[in-house]
């Protein structure tokens, strides 16, 4: 867990790089560049927030493009109504659907992947690396390759328009990522701990449940965040497999406001986007270190 420990070290105290005295040119350049970058990154989000709180009359004009002339929260109420009348699904239902699809697939994927990773990290057996490569390889294959066959498999099983229609494929996509992270973490657990459990007469499965899993909480937490982003934001499978509006996840339902079938007032449009962004923003602010650690770790392990 080097990543988590590293964060507490204060690098700013080290003497390297530039200081204002030594290299004024770079000092100014770096400040300007970073300020510009932050403007480019934040402007779209701030702008959408800004139009979401403008009154309908002033929606096209604002001070400095961002500060509304007339504040209102009506757009949010209208976004809720618009979703109900035009998208045939309330925001409450969208969130419920996304939560069900995301959390059930993450839970199952982590259970399956941790069992598999335990096997990879704890035993030597024939075909170990080959099996591991097989499971990991499916991460590289674009999910869209599986779209058409899975459509027919799920249709023939009568599962289309059911949460299982997305949960089942998601489990398939998440297992490789989770296995990659958990295996390397499990392998870092010192053998002494495992050996002492062996001596106490614990079965392998009990050792897994009572020693390996509790020790792996940080890895599992990072894993959950990584898998959460993968599934919460997933689009194409939910789009194809969930055609009944009532069970559509947030991305699929919200994408329809760009459809052009009905004209959406700009304020409502902005408010609808903000309703999907704000919860993620809150979760991100609370767990930001874990997000960054989880996503960096996922990448570095690959």
């Amino acid at each position: 867990m080097a990543l988590f420990k590293k964060r507490t070290v204060r690098y700013e105290e080290n003497e390297y790089g530039i200081s204002r005295k030594r290299d004024l040119g770079f000092f100014i350049f770096s400040r300007i560049l970073i300020i510009l970058t932050i403007i480019v990154i934040l402007f779209p989000i701030l702008w959408i927030f800004s139009i979401s709180i403008r009154s309908q009359e002033t929606v096209y004009s604002a001070f400095m493009f961002l500060i509304p002339k007339e504040f209102t929260f009506r757009n949010y109420i209208e976004a809720f109504q618009y979703a109900e009348t035009h998208l045939n699904v309330t925001f409450f239902q969208m969130f419920r659907n996304s939560i069900i699809a995301t959390f059930s697939s993450i839970t199952i994927a982590i259970i399956i992947a941790s069992l598999g990773s335990f096997s990879f990290s704890n035993y030597r057996f024939k075909g170990k690396e080959f099996t591991f490569t097989l499971i990991i390889a499916s991460f590289v294959i674009p999910a869209q390759v599986l779209l058409i066959p899975l459509f027919f498999i799920l249709r023939n099983a009568g599962l289309l328009n059911n949460y299982l229609a997305v949960i089942i494929p998601y489990i398939g996509f998440l297992i490789p990522i989770a296995t990659l992270i958990l295996r390397s973490f499990f392998e870092q657990i010192p053998n002494e701990i495992k050996e002492s459990a062996k001596i106490d007469g614990a079965s392998d499965f009990r050792m897994f449940l009572q020693i390996i899993l509790p020790l792996s909480k940080p890895a599992i937490a990072s894993c959950v965040i990584l898998l959460f982003l993968e599934t919460w934001n997933e689009f194409i499978f939910a789009l194809v497999f969930l055609q009944n509006p009532q069970i559509q996840t947030i991305p699929v339902a919200i994408a329809k406001i760009a459809g052009g079938k009905y004209i959406v007032p700009l304020g409502t449009y902005g408010a609808s986007i903000m309703i999907t962004v704000i919860p993620v923003l809150i979760v991100f602010v609370i767990f930001q270190r874990w997000f960054i650690a989880g996503m960096t770790m996922g990448a570095l392990k690959g």
């Binding site: 700013e12 080290n14 390297y16 790089g17 530039i18 770079f26 970073i34 970058t37 932050i38 480019v40 990154i41 779209p44 959408i48 139009i51 096209y60 493009f65 259970i111 399956i112 992947a113 069992l115 598999g116 335990f118 096997s119 704890n122 030597r124 057996f125 024939k126 499971i135 390889a137 499916s138 991460f139 590289v140 294959i141 674009p142 869209q144 599986l146 779209l147 058409i148 066959p149 459509f151 027919f152 089942i168 489990i171 297992i175 053998n191 062996k198 934001n233 689009f235 194409i236 991305p251 919200i254 994408a255 406001i257 986007i273 999907t276 993620v280 991100f284 960054i292 570095l300 690959g302």
Partner: protein, 300 residues
């Protein structure tokens, strides 16, 4: 002797009890039914003619007919070109930009470096659909970008520029993610070397070329591979921003596959869609082989 003994893994003998396999049964079952068999089925289906309403999809074998349809479709080649642009830009421009930003932040010694990195990273956690909806409005004809630039231009309806707008939005979303990974790599640079270089009066280009770049080369490769995998399968950004338009000029592989197979305005030819999947699969395999070859060469 005893220290040597301790370093060996806990189970030093081949385990033939079947226990390791029993832990793997769930993962392998999922792999078999959700990954392997659909891939094989997809490859076979590219030789059949079928629609989404057919009960028996393996009825009409038509050989290479689907591929012929595809290769005669001008817009398939455009989607090929666009996918190439997309992948190319995300492994070159985006990676270079991310590396540049991470170096500036690392050497800039910002007081609130963590906050800066978090803000630049932030778009990566948002749903591509949400940010594409935002950008769709910004880039529209009466959008705020035209207001700022005081011009009247429909960015997303431009035959030549639409795909580049999509690529721009993708870079906007993911550059922070690459930057964070680079930053983690930069933190592993031995600081005493940098201080020694400062004492010796090394200039900027020297420090970056001789100390920074060699250290982050593995991270560059990692970011290139991540972006390669990610940008090759991009769908949602294109779908929301342009729907492949104007008239299919910003299609990529995945969107043209969606158009052939599932789109309400499409021809509903799932066989052709499957043959696009086939082609994507082959390209991924080629890249995989190249990667393994390169890794072997690196080891030698």
């Amino acid at each position: 002797m005893s220290t040597y003994h301790r370093k060996k893994p806990i189970l030093r003998f081949w385990d033939n009890t079947g226990k390791p396999y029993s832990f793997l049964v769930p993962a392998l079952t999922v792999f078999l039914f959700i990954s392997l068999s659909p891939v094989i089925m997809s490859l076979i289906l590219s030789f059949y003619d079928f629609t989404g309403y057919d009960a028996n999809i393996f009825k009409e074998f038509i050989g290479f007919e689907n591929f012929k349809i595809l290769f005669n479709d001008r817009y398939f080649w455009i989607s090929f070109r666009n996918t190439f642009y997309f992948v190319g830009a995300s492994i070159s421009i985006q990676v270079a930009l991310a590396l540049f930003l991470s170096i500036v932040i690392f050497f800039g010694k910002f007081k609130n470096s963590v906050l800066i990195r978090t803000v630049i990273f932030f778009p990566a956690v948002l749903a591509p659909v949400s940010i594409s909806l935002a950008w769709r409005q910004i880039l529209s004809q009466d959008g705020v970008l035209n207001q700022i630039l005081r011009i009247d231009f429909s960015w997303l309806s431009s035959v030549n520029l639409a795909i580049w707008c999509v690529i721009f939005v993708s870079i906007w979303q993911w550059v922070g993610y690459n930057m964070i990974i680079f930053y983690a790599g930069l933190q592993s640079i031995d600081r005493t070397i940098l201080e020694a270089a400062d004492v010796d009066g090394a200039n900027w280009s020297g420090k970056i070329l001789k100390i920074v770049i060699p250290t982050v080369t593995p991270v560059i490769i990692l970011n290139v591979i991540l972006n390669l995998i990610g940008s090759f399968r991009v769908f949602d950004i294109v779908y929301v921003l342009t729907r492949g338009g104007p008239i299919h000029n910003s299609e990529v592989f995945t969107t043209i596959m969606y158009y052939y197979s599932f789109s309400a305005n499409g021809p509903n030819k799932m066989g052709v869609g499957s043959s696009i999947a086939f082609i994507m699969f082959v390209i991924v395999i080629i890249f995989g082989v190249i990667r393994i070859r390169l890794m072997r060469r690196g080891e030698e």
